[in-house]
C-alpha cells in the first residue's frame, strides 16, 4: 500500500512569492492535515481538511491556505512568502480512526 506522498521534495522561493505544496493521502483516507516544522522546533498544526472541507486551522495568518480535492488530495498555498516561512511542511492523512500517517515532507526555503 502506498504511503502519503508529497511534492515537491524541495522548493526554493524568494520573499513575496507564492508557494504551492501538494499532498496525496493514503488510499481510503479522507482527512488531510498540514503541519509546519521549522528547524529545531516541534510540529505546529496548520490545517485540517476532511471530505473536502476545512475543519480546523492553527494559529497561522490567512496567507496560509489550502484546499482538498474530490480525490482527497490536498494543496497548501503560502502567499507573500517571508523568510521565517522556511521550514519542512508535513502532510498527514487519516481515516476516522484518528491515527495519522505522515508523508516525507516538502522542504521550503525562502531566500
Amino acid at each position: 500500500e502506498a504511503g502519503v506522498t508529497q511534492s515537491p521534495t524541495h522548493l526554493i522561493k524568494t520573499r513575496g512569492q507564492q508557494a504551492t505544496l501538494r499532498c496525496s493521502p493514503i488510499s481510503g483516507h479522507t482527512s488531510v492535515y498540514w503541519y509546519q516544522q521549522a528547524l529545531g522546533l516541534g510540529l505546529q498544526f496548520l490545517l485540517w481538511y476532511d471530505e473536502g472541507e476545512e475543519r480546523n486551522r492553527g494559529n497561522f495568518p490567512p496567507r496560509f491556505s489550502g484546499r482538498q480535492f474530490p480525490n482527497y488530495s490536498s494543496e497548501l498555498n503560502v502567499n507573500a512568502l517571508e523568510l521565517e516561512d522556511s521550514a519542512l511542511y508535513l502532510c498527514a492523512s487519516s481515516t476516522k480512526r484518528v491515527e495519522q500517517f505522515f508523508g516525507p515532507g516538502t522542504r521550503l526555503t525562502v531566500l
Binding site: G42, L43, N59, E99, P104
Partner: protein, 113 residues
Amino acid sequence: GESVGLHLPTLSVQEGDNSIINCAYSNSASDYFIWYKQESGKGPQFIIDIRSNMDKRQGQRVTVLLNKTVKHLSLQIAATQPGDSAVYFCAETLRSGTYKYIFGTGTRLKVLA
C-alpha cells in the same frame, strides 16, 4: 502556532541499554496519545499509541506508560539499537473532537556504540 518548547533535549544511551523518553502533555481532556519517531530528513513514523482508559501498552521492544494524574507520558525502548537514533515526539488529541494533534517538543535519542 501551537507547540511546546523551543529547545530539543537530547538523551544519549549506550547500545543495548534501555531508553526512557518522557513527555508532559497539556490538555487534561486529551484521550488519545501517540509516539512518533522522526529520522533525519524524513516524516514522523508512528511507533505506538495509547488511549486514556489504559495506563500501559506494549509493542515490539517499546512500551508506553500513561499517568493521567500528572499528565505524563513515557516511551520505553528495550535494548536500544543504533537504528533507534532519531527524534521522538509525543502527540495528544481528543478523539471525539477535531482530531487535531498537539505535538510535544521532541527528544533526540543518540545511541552510542
